[in-house]
């Protein structure tokens, strides 16, 4: 008999690659510990991703050298992915665990809302409420996708740290946020370009692996910066700034500009400032204060001050003009009008909530830039790199397509820069899509990033593409959870996802993805228990698959057994519940744990099997229910209780125990009453139809002392006749071939018969 082995030795990890067609087949040795030749192999799926391989040798009779060796073995092979995914297994499980509650909450809200609104979520008050629930759900899921805490901010700010490294971003979160921006966050519809800009700022580093990005450029430059003495001589300094400016990372640009040499104290002393004061016309004395603000790095200036500043610059000396120009550009950058309600922490710009206000401010800002661009004082700036670099920054702000293209590295960055400087009033997905397509022509991506596919699908308003990209790139978790965003955000998507397909066995796409995700959960020993939450949200096929899942769980592991029973209780799967308990009962019984076997069969109320095993149990009882060994049985008999309903044929044991107990108390000197009770117990046992025939003779033989009680007969005439009838029946049964002889002395039957006959005589006389 092959035995199931579960020692760690036999569990081999076998990596499986998803792209098998491109790679040669790899052999993995299987350690089964059997001598060849192997006669037969059999494969089956065990729980989850475990493959069970049964290895059989030839039956021993056919091979001469197979003495003392196992005839076969079962090896469990765990299959897993090679582990090059973005999210490791433990983190993935954490994500799966924490998305359960938001998902379940949303489903239950959906149920109660559709019950209240009679199946239609489109009626206004319900729709608004539903919308809020979906937003809450989306935010919760999004937050759990980055469970790492941000590193603590250092108190002393490093002037030379340009790139803020937040917790490692993941594509999954980036994709989720994209869906949230376009499908859920209705409030931000008017400022989608700005949201995309924030998005790119957060996730630009994700593209660095496959594409050149501004982020990687800045990271490189930051390393270089530590060793550079005079930054303004370094062309990389100006390149880094123009790139950062192109995608709107204003705070980075301003921070870098402040590293410019003209801010150093040895170059701009207080004497210089006083000198400047005398050179400037009296009408714009205000500028001096501006200058003081500038040198202290304060940028909170009114629009008037900016205008003055631009004028002022043209009255400065060469050195001051350099500083003045740098500062003028810095101020203009930090005053850039933004079409958004508020800024994120540390970000620069001026916010405008309505389009007319924004357009007005934009025009004014552009005019200021042009004014500065045309200022004659550029000629006096004697530092070539500064002059060209600043001019370049101005060109970016003026939306020069060539400069923008040079400053960005992939189409997404170019796309964002167009929003910012070329077409700031773009609205609507269609124009955004057109713009994206143009940018792609300018900067085609050699290796398309998976997020780009998703963005294009969303901009193209093509739900099928969005679904396909999500499924291909982000896997079943994404599909199961993101479907809620798509259906809430687009009517077309809702119809597409909820339509039932006969090709898919009547399930909708939404249900299909949930089922797939549930299968993924089921394939792991630690996540299978959350699969029911997803399965029960699938109306068509969910319960069937849940039944399959529960039946596949190993019952020998008591914790898993109790878990399965708990799941059955929660979802009111009574039939499966009793089936599982029955399977567990039989399993325990087969493995010699008779108590557990009986307990689970009792729980399953399986009279049939209880009666069947009762027979076996009585065999086992045999002589072992001797006077001293009886203690062993106490526990089981206590378990059975006295109720016949749940004990099946085992009810007999309880009465038998009571009888033995009373019999034990009977000695030669006991009062007749106690002996009488024992005799009553004997008669009721013999009367009871559930008392197995094979116990009749041992019972009577053990009771000889009762039948031959000295004082007076304990059993009356009719009772004795009943016992004699039973004895007669027994003699008849002995003739049958299947009769099992009790392990008693050969004269047992005759001595019982003699005792009964004597008792009958005494009883008749007494009556």
């Amino acid at each position: 008999m092959p035995g199931l082995t579960s020692e760690p030795d036999d569990l081999a990890m076998v990596p499986v690659s998803l792209e098998t067609e491109n790679q040669p087949v790899v052999n993995y040795p299987l350690r089964h510990g059997l001598k060849s030749p192997i006669h037969r192999l059999s494969f089956s799926w065990a729980c989850g991703n475990t493959l069970r391989v049964s290895v059989f040798r030839k039956p021993q009779s056919e091979t001469a050298d197979g003495e003392g060796e196992a005839g076969g073995r079962v090896v469990e092979v765990k299959l897993s992915n090679s582990g090059d995914e973005e999210v490791d297994a433990a983190r993935w499980r954490r994500m799966a665990y924490s998305s359960v509650t938001p998902f379940a909450l949303l489903q239950s809200r959906k149920h109660s809302l559709s019950a209240a609104s009679r199946m239609s979520l489109d009626i206004p008050p319900y729709k608004a409420e539903w919308w809020e629930h979906v937003i809450e759900y989306s935010k919760e899921i999004s937050s759990l996708l980055s469970d790492q805490k941000p590193p603590p901010k250092s108190i002393i700010e490093d002037a030379k740290s340009v790139v803020n490294e937040i917790a490692a971003p993941v594509c999954l979160k980036a994709a989720w946020e994209l869906l949230e921006i376009f499908y859920i966050d209705k409030q931000s519809q008017s400022w989608i370009p700005e949201r995309l800009l924030d998005w790119l700022a957060d996730y630009n580093s994700l593209f660095s692996g496959t594409l050149p990005t501004i982020h990687s450029k800045l990271v490189d430059f930051q390393q270089e910066l530590v060793g550079v003495q005079v930054v303004e001589d370094d062309p990389n300094y100006w390149d880094a700034m123009s790139s950062a400016l192109a995608v709107g990372w204003l705070e980075t640009v301003v921070k870098l500009l402040r590293l410019h040499g003209s801010y150093r104290f040895d170059q701009l002393s207080s004497r210089e400032a006083v000198y400047l004061f005398y050179r400037v016309p009296k009408s714009i004395t205000l500028c001096v204060f501006c200058l003081r603000d500038l040198t202290t790095g304060c940028t909170a200036m009114s629009d008037d001050k900016v205008d003055f500043l631009v004028l002022f610059v043209s009255h400065c000396s060469s050195l001051a003009s350099k500083n003045g120009l740098v500062e003028a550009v810095a101020v203009l950058i930090s005053k850039m009008p933004r079409m958004r309600p508020s800024l994120r922490e540390d970000n620069l710009g001026e916010c405008y909530k309505t389009k007319p206000d924004f357009m007005k401010a934009w025009e004014k800002w552009r005019t200021q830039i042009s004014k500065l661009d045309c200022s004659s004082y550029w000629l006096q700036c004697d530092h070539r790199q500064t002059r060209e670099g600043l001019k370049n920054l101005i060109q970016i702000m003026l939306g020069n397509p060539t400069v923008l293209s040079n400053a960005t590295f992939n189409w997404m960055e170019l796309f964002i820069s167009h929003f910012l400087y070329v077409r700031p009033f773009t609205a609507g997905l269609e124009s955004m899509h057109n713009s994206a397509k143009k940018c792609m022509q300018v900067k085609p991506a050699s290796i398309p990033h998976k997020l780009f596919g998703l963005i294009l699908g969303i901009l193209g308003e093509n739900t099928e593409v969005v679904l396909a990209e999500c499924s291909r790139s982000f896997g079943p978790w994404m599909m199961a959870h993101a479907v809620e965003l798509l259906t809430a955000g687009s009517t077309h998507a809702e119809i597409l996802l909820h339509e039932e397909h006969s090709k898919l066995g009547g399930v909708s796409i939404e249900e299909l993805h949930r089922l797939v995700y549930a299968q993924v959960l089921s394939s792991h020993a630690l996540t299978w228990q959350i699969a029911p939450i997803y399965l029960t949200s699938c109306i068509k096929q969910g319960i069937r698959l849940l039944e399959n899942l529960l039946y596949k769980q190993p019952v020998q592991h008591s914790q898993i057994l109790l878990k399965s029973i708990e799941i059955c209780r929660l979802y009111e799967l009574d039939t499966i519940n009793s089936n599982i308990m029955r399977i567990a009962g039989v399993h325990h019984w087969k493995h010699g744990r008779k108590g557990s076997g009986v307990f689970w069969l009792q729980q399953a109320r399986d009279e049939f099997r209880l009666n069947r095993i009762a027979k076996q149990l009585f065999d086992f009882v045999g002589k072992s229910v001797s006077d001293e060994g009886f203690k062993q049985w106490e526990g089981l008999i206590e378990l059975l209780g006295s109720e016949s309903r749940t004990a099946g044929g085992l009810e007999f044991l309880n009465k038998y125990r009571d009888f033995r107990r009373s019999l034990l108390q009977v000695h030669g000197d006991t009062p007749t009453d106690a002996a009488r009770n024992a005799a009553e117990a004997l008669v009721s046992l013999m009367k009871n139809p559930s008392t197995p025939q094979r116990f009749w003779l041992p019972l009577l033989y053990d009771s000889l002392k009762l039948l031959m009680w000295q004082e007076r007969p304990l059993v009356n005439v009719s009772q004795t006749q009943l016992l004699l009838n039973k004895l007669q029946e027994l003699s008849m049964a002995r003739l049958r071939p299947d009769f099992v002889e009790a392990d008693l002395p050969s004269d047992a039957l005759s001595s019982v018969r003699l005792a009964l006959a004597t008792n009958l005589g005494r009883a008749i006389l007494e009556e």
């Binding site: 433990a90 744990r593 108590g595 526990g635």
Partner: protein, 358 residues
């Protein structure tokens, strides 16, 4: 992190996600006010290996505890039950396994390291899973019960373990939990809400047996955990299936005191839970005056954790106080003996929670 305020007390909860399943955990005796250790039985599903780990819990800044990994030892099989002696210098840690062996370790609290001492895994010990073990007050006697129906007494003498079979039911009964009542008495529990009282001065079988019959008509259940308070050794607290928690007083044997449970109609309103109670422990965190006033016949307050994610304190005739309500099961918990305001519990979704009551 969440701060819950229940009726009478402030509660701080800190959760620590781990990368493995936690089968059981216990506080180790406290070395200093700022450094405490937790011992846990971990199971790594990726490599199918199990281990014992020591974590250091320290209150570094702003009252936020931090958990740091200290040391780990791989165990030959998955751990089913974990118990520690409260010897402050070198606490003993006993663990029972799925494969039926008992492992003994000592912990060095200064270095936070674990050291293997001895193990019992001979053929006659247990067949299959050991469901429960307990260590005596003096830290040198262990008792183990298994699903095979065996009860073994293990003594730690002269640096090694020696075993003695107390009882073998040959599988006719399976035991689920065990707890010492005195140096020579212990209580076992198992199927059908049964409890057995054993006395080593009267060997051969249980001295007294209790079989719950209040579940007449509904299904019966299993006892998962037992506790006995050192000051009331005649009362045995048991928790098990269907949210059942009851106390069995040896002096009134036939009438258990129901503290919680679905099957009891009059108490169902009070019952905070419906599914398996995995662990019960008397909760010593009560103001001392309350404690003294408690009448002799009343059951002391107890803490329970359950399959439906509840960690609660229940008291006879009072509303239960919920400390935690998790979306997943709470597998085990431990109340710090020296500082009962601190509780550590392990959650099914691979994480640990530390609760501080104030």
């Amino acid at each position: 992190m969440a701060v819950l305020t229940s009726s009478s007390q402030n509660l701080q909860v800190h959760r620590f996600p781990q990368d493995y399943y936690i089968d059981s955990l216990r506080w180790l005796p406290q070395l200093s006010a700022f450094h405490r250790h937790i011992i846990l039985a971990a199971f790594d599903s990726e490599s199918s290996t199990s281990s014992l780990q020591i974590l250091n819990s320290s209150n570094s800044s702003s009252n936020t505890p931090e958990l740091t990994f200290q040391s780990s030892l791989t165990t030959p099989s998955r751990i089913t039950s974990l118990t520690t002696s409260h010897n402050p210098n070198k606490p003993l840690i006993a663990a029972s396994t799925f494969s039926g062996s008992l492992l003994l370790y000592t912990a060095d609290l200064v270095n936070g390291s674990l050291e293997f001492v001895d193990s019992v895994d001979e053929k006659g010990f247990h067949l299959g899973r050991i469901n429960g073990i307990d260590v005596s007050e003096n830290g040198s006697e262990f008792v183990s019960v298994g699903e095979d129906g065996r009860i073994n007494w293990v003594s730690f003498v002269g640096g090694g373990l020696s075993t003695r079979k107390v009882f073998d039911s040959n599988g006719l009964v399976s035991y689920g939990a065990v707890k010492w009542a005195s140096p020579v008495e212990f209580v076992s529990g198992g199927l059908g809400f049964g409890l057995q009282w054993w006395d080593q001065r009267r060997p051969g079988g249980p001295v007294s047996q209790f079989k719950a019959n209040w579940t007449r008509g509904t299904t019966s259940g299993i006892v998962h955990s037992i506790d006995i308070h050192p000051s009331r050794k005649h009362t045995c607290l048991a928790g098990g299936s269907s949210g059942t928690v009851f106390a069995w007083d040896l002096r009134w044997q036939q009438q258990p005191i129901m503290l919680s449970g679905v099957g009891t109609s009059d108490l169902s309103a009070l019952s905070p839970l419906e599914s398996d109670v995995w662990e019960v422990q008397y909760d010593n965190y009560t103001t001392s005056s309350n404690y003294r006033n408690m009448s002799e016949s009343r059951v002391l307050p107890a803490m329970i954790c359950s399959e439906d994610g509840i960690l609660a304190v229940i008291e006879q005739g009072e509303e239960p106080v919920e400390l935690l309500a998790e979306p997943c099961a709470i597998n085990s918990f431990d109340i710090d003996r020296q500082n009962p305001s601190e509780i550590v519990c392990s959650l099914e979704w691979e994480s640990i929670a530390i609760l501080t009551r104030s």
